[in-house]
Symmetry: C2
Subunit: 316 residues, 2 copies
């Protein structure tokens, strides 16, 4: 199936934190965007959210010399019918199988047979979401990272029934969206980054539980050591940089000592039991005043985009 | 024991890639530095290496308005005797227990009783290195990451016999060296970053072996997703940012699926058997011409320092 993607009209269903950020990404890439939000409160907020993201894009010079962006390209709606002539519809609603399935069925009922349907899920297998679909071959996962309009990351995930050609066409349009998409042909649980990062959490929690280092030390270690090279290298290119043989030696000495926990470690249960919703209610592993939390979130958005520009510059 | 560290005269033994980079860090922090290199070829190269690093520091504006740096503060030597009035001596010779033990014994014979002795080892337990020392309480690990003069990372590792007060005094002087040191009170095998990163390698190699994603996809995934936040957050502050509860849910679903390999996975053995010395002989997991390899190494140095400046800016 050849799909219209270069000049696609794109629907985004669910305009929360992530959905509005993704809608902004499509807008600045020059697409016509239909934003559907069923919850009245969130619908009222949606326009403000997207404006806020566009302002951030402007500060980051993503709108400078950008002739593709047209503010009239955004249409916000509360009815599925407005999605009917979309070429691609992405759902970004809450991570709940029943809700996502229902939304996907509604989308499928509305759009044409040529429309690609995608999910931003980071937890539910794509194959599971395909089960109740009439034509599951046009369905795939598009997994973004925040802020979607500035991050270079996009994971394209095929379910068991996805037409690989569609996934490849989406991969090709990635650079227009400012992305370097990676394509997963198999629907692995947890996707790639989650799998790699939970390996880190498992080990970090073991070190914490044994009192070998505290939270601050673990964070600084990962931030300032791994963080100093990871954007440029990735883990396997790191092997090339430091010499492959060295890694085998160190792996031999290290692997037998790593955590093999299959259950959520007590250290994490304790954290969850004792702590609140992190930065969102100023009661997390670290302490923040409300102002500090807001300043920090803003700084993170800016850092993230400047980092993007930095890697653009040095990866040429 | 109270040590002289603020205005310490510092010895660096072994002026290879890492040692010369560490010596440069001490120089630009305003210390008098005695650089000892016993191998004739490396001794001849040492001055050039340090000049090259200083030039990089200059390009990175680390020398601008830096009234501490004095080019006359560097003294290169081939004899241990010149270390005798140092307040701190760090060894950064090859990762070989016999060689490091011998070097540490020579240092201990030469210096005064007030001199702190440190090792840059990333593989040998500090406690093991303490075994043959006369006064092991003044010995600790100082684990740097490259480039030492620009990276913010410094791991301070206590062995079983280290005087914790000395480690704490070194931690306090960290900011003067441009570092945010983390202190490990226990001498854990593999140190913190290595432990976390080998958890990543173990899982990455499992994904590779199962054909779920290839090397490029794994690298991009880690670079563009994890890489987009890691410098600002660390893994536990990430929990605060995204909501702690979310992590427990995802951990429950993910942990049971992670690799528990205790042996070096076949995928890594295959890589080592088939490939050469990575970027150093242009025969790695990726392919590079000699020019590309050199350009890339240079770009990495610059990226790394600009990233440092970026985080300085946004972490205020």
């Amino acid at each position: 199936m050849t799909i219209e993607i270069e000049n696609a009209k794109i629907g985004v269903v669910g305009l929360g934190l992530m959905g509005s950020s993704i809608a902004t990404n499509f807008l600045i890439a020059g697409h016509q965007v239909v934003g559907l939000e069923l919850m009245p409160e969130a619908y009222r907020m949606a326009s403000m959210r997207i404006d806020h993201h566009l302002q951030a894009c402007d500060e980051l010079k993503l709108l400078e010399d950008n002739t593709s962006y047209n503010p009239n390209n955004l249409h916000l709606t509360q009815t599925y019918k407005d999605l009917e002539d979309c070429d691609l519809v992405l759902e970004s609603v809450v991570e709940d199988l029943a809700i996502k399935s229902e939304v996907i069925q509604q989308i499928e009922k509305t759009v044409s047979g040529h429309c690609v349907i995608a999910s931003n899920t980071s937890a539910i297998p794509i194959t599971t979401l395909q089960k109740k679909m009439e034509s599951p071959s046009r369905f795939l996962g598009l997994h973004w990272s925040e802020p979607a309009y500035a991050s270079r990351y996009l994971e394209i995930i095929c379910g068991a029934h996805t037409d690989l050609q569609i996934a490849k066409q989406i991969q090709q349009v990635g650079p227009r969206w400012g992305k370097e998409p990676i394509l997963l042909k198999k629907d692995i649980r947890g996707f790639v980054t989650n799998r790699l990062m939970y390996a880190v959490y498992r080990e970090g929690l073991q070190i914490l539980e044994r009192g070998e280092a505290n939270i601050e030390a673990l964070d600084k270690s990962f931030r300032y050591d791994t963080g100093s090279w990871i954007t440029m290298m990735g883990i396997f290119q790191r092997m090339d940089y430091l010499g492959i043989k060295y890694f085998e030696n160190l792996a031999e000495r290290t692997l037998g000592r790593l955590s093999n926990a299959k259950e959520v470690p007590d250290a994490m249960k304790k954290i969850v039991a004792e702590k609140g919703r992190g930065v969102h209610n100023q009661n997390g592993l670290y302490s923040y005043s409300q102002q500090e939390a807001e300043d920090w979130k803003e700084a993170f958005g800016k850092f993230s985009s400047e980092l993007h520009q930095l890697s653009e510059k040095w990866l040429k």
